[in-house]
């Protein structure tokens, strides 16, 4: 088998929640002690992304999806673990060393209103990465490239001297995609790129992303909470909960036979159009904030099948007969 494009092993990230020095002091048992609170956003993520595939990461708010994306892109330094791009380790590079990988990996952000500079025209936004990464390009070559890019995302080249506010949300998201494509990457991380868009415009952007994937053999890491989009677009799906992956499966398998209790609840909660009125599986409570490093299974607090073992030991990802991997004691023991 070909080497995976991205390989992540044991990735962890903790954020300090009381950043200021003064708020770290506590008066306890007659003593003044210093202590840092931290939020554990990622708790040991193992994941591979193959070339040409779309890996979707789904999960609720606060499960660490965006932190994972940012860690891969090098926008935040992981506390532990390794990230490899083909055979090179990329999680501890300095800015200069990272430059090569910035060309290979690009990111599209959630809110196209915030991720485009309002004071730069579309031409400026696109010419910056092109001429920076291709210093040998002449002015006319840069112009040509910009026209070609804009046409390819369905925006007329004549509007390149307009500012972001003159475009609609969908057009802005297409400009963001054009910016990501401008350096001809192999891999694009898209962090909820559709959630600020309307249904009809969502379809336009999603179609464009699929076209580009076909043209350039792109790989995507697609982060979303919209499971309908996942079912349509993903090659494989990773379901995240509290900074860990609890199920990883090919899309068809995941939607036809979800295994992890959390995945089952998540899928049953999608409001579908068909008149099938199956009651969603009710989960008690909401995603807790991980201030303590979780002991045992991350889902135990809301899981209807949790037993003593789930509180004590963290389940490992085990490969099932149909190609999916699940981290759950209940499945391992055959209780579920």
């Amino acid at each position: 088998m070909a080497t995976p494009l991205i390989q992540i092993s044991g990735l962890e990230k903790a954020f300090t929640s009381n950043e200021s020095w003064l708020s770290q002091w506590r008066f306890r048992h007659g003593k003044l002690t210093r202590h840092k609170d931290s939020i554990h956003a990622l708790n040991g993520v193992n994941l591979t992304i193959n070339q040409g595939e779309t890996l979707c990461v789904v999960g609720e708010t606060g499960c660490g999806k965006s932190t994972l994306a940012r860690a891969i892109m090098g926008l935040t330094t992981p506390s532990a673990g390794e990230i490899h791009y083909l055979d090179q380790r990329i999680d501890q590079l300095n800015n200069r060393q990272r430059m090569f990988f910035r060309r290979r990996m690009q990111m599209v952000f959630q809110n196209p209103y915030a991720s485009l500079n309002p004071r730069m025209t579309v031409y400026q936004t696109l010419s910056e990465p092109i001429s920076f990464h291709n210093p040998q390009f002449s002015q006319s070559q840069v112009d040509e490239k910009i026209d070609e890019l804009l046409e390819s995302v369905g925006i007329s080249a004549s509007s390149s001297d307009r500012y972001p506010h003159e475009f609609s949300g969908g057009q802005r998201q297409r400009i963001s995609l054009a910016r990501a494509l401008s350096v001809e990457p192999d891999f694009i991380v898209a962090d909820e790129p559709l959630s600020a868009l309307d249904v009809s415009v969502q379809a336009q952007v999603l179609n464009l992303m699929m076209d580009k994937q076909e043209e350039r053999n792109l790989s995507y890491l697609f982060i979303t909470h919209d499971l309908a989009v996942v079912e349509h677009f993903a090659t494989r799906v990773a379901v995240m909960y509290l900074g860990r992956i609890c199920e990883l499966a090919p899309t068809g398998t995941l939607f036809s036979a979800p295994k992890h209790p959390y995945t089952q609840a998540l899928l049953s909660a999608i409001p579908r159009l068909d008149s099938n009125t199956a009651q969603p599986i009710r989960l008690i409570g909401e995603v807790p904030t991980p201030t303590e490093k979780p002991i045992g299974c991350v889902f135990q607090a809301r899981c209807p099948y949790a037993n003593q073992r789930c509180y004590e030991a963290s389940p490992a990802m085990t490969l099932q007969s149909d190609g999916s991997s699940v981290a759950c004691h209940a499945i391992e023991e055959g209780r579920l």
């Binding site: 009809s200 379809a203 999603l206 309908a228 049953s268 999608i270 409001p271």
Partner: protein, 332 residues
């Protein structure tokens, strides 16, 4: 008699350079205990309609013409005092973002008690009991404890429950919910929708659900209004609209959903995007994006007619109906 009837409502925004029409000739009725949905993309005028029902449209917007009747009382002609009687007590509203709706510097309890006491003359203690009972009603665990907490101490889903409780305090006849679950995760969304549905059913409260999510709408509403650029373009029973959409916009909206195409296939997109208020096209507002548009669509505004499935404003449907009528005549 209808509980609420809106007829020929026009809402304009008075801007420096021009008058912008946000709602054009909107009419609908709502019966006691009925649940209707208003769907459309951003900029369609859904929220403006929701606000207009309780006359909450602030400057520069104003109700230009038309009437909104609650039973037989005209809301558009009420003074502030009369409006305050209606707001909250007869018609209550739930907004999209629960964090923005709750006051961050007051406890949950204070806000609930304030709501009751500004409408009815009762003691703090009685008001507190009502508030706790309602918090219990919306399935908040240990309501006595929550009563003294601040909004930031609750999670998003919990806050939306508190808001639903606050809406129930005065036993309104109508709840207007403007995208009540958009800010929530899918598992929480399912719970809040079930709660809202149960409350409306049990207490005979009518619901106006404003949403862009057709999946959500199909689970909650009996009747649906589809809006586009300030017009109602289609109205009918929710199931009929979803199974047999008549207006090309409704068809496009449904076909654009990822579940309507096989995985990996291209989605059926609607070309272009919703026009802004200032650039409303002539004739049928949907014609630049419509695959069936004709010369007539570019020039004239279609009337609202009943197609046998739903009421639609579209020449395509109208022409088809006329054709059938002619054939019927010939046959007889």
């Amino acid at each position: 008699m209808n509980l609420l009837s809106v007829s020929h409502l026009h809402v304009n925004f008075h801007m420096k350079e021009q008058e912008l029409a946000a709602l054009i000739d909107v009419s609908f009725t709502l019966n006691r205990g009925e649940r209707i949905a208003i769907v459309g993309e951003s900029g369609a005028g859904k929220s403006v309609l929701g606000f207009s029902i309780v006359n909450l449209i602030g400057k520069p917007g104003y109700i230009k013409s038309g009437s909104i009747k609650l039973e037989n009382k005209e809301i558009t002609k009420m003074n502030l005092r009369q409006l305050q009687e209606v707001r909250g007590k007869r018609i209550a509203m739930i907004f999209q973002d629960p964090m923005m709706t709750l006051n961050p510097v007051l406890t949950i309890g204070d806000q609930l008690v304030e709501t009751i006491r500004s409408h009815t003359k009762i003691s703090y203690k009685d008001a507190r009991n009502i508030a706790i009972e309602k918090l219990h009603h919306v399935q908040i665990a240990s309501p006595e404890k929550r009563f003294d907490q601040y909004p930031h101490e609750l999670s998003g889903g919990m806050r939306q429950r508190v808001i639903i409780a606050s809406v129930l305090l005065l036993n309104p006849d109508i709840i207007i919910a403007d995208e009540p679950t958009t800010a929530l995760d899918v598992t929480i969304q399912a719970e809040i929708l079930q709660l809202l549905l149960a409350i409306c059913r049990d207490n005979g409260v009518a619901l106006v659900l404003i949403s862009h999510d057709l999946g959500v709408v199909s689970k909650v509403a009996e009747r649906t209004l589809v809006m586009y650029a300030g017009h109602v373009v289609e109205e009918g029973p929710t199931l009929e609209i979803i199974n047999d959409p008549q207006h090309p916009y409704t068809q496009g909206l449904l076909n654009a959903l990822p579940q309507m195409t096989l995985p990996g296939q291209r989605l059926n997109q609607i070309r272009g995007s919703m026009p802004s208020l200032a650039e409303r096209p002539s004739g049928c507002a949907f014609h630049p994006r419509c695959p069936y548009a004709t010369q007539k669509c570019r020039q004239e505004q279609p009337r609202f007619i009943y197609s046998g499935v739903s009421s639609v404003a579209c020449f395509l449907v109208e022409d088809m109906l006329n054709e059938f009528a002619d054939k019927d005549k010939e046959a007889s």
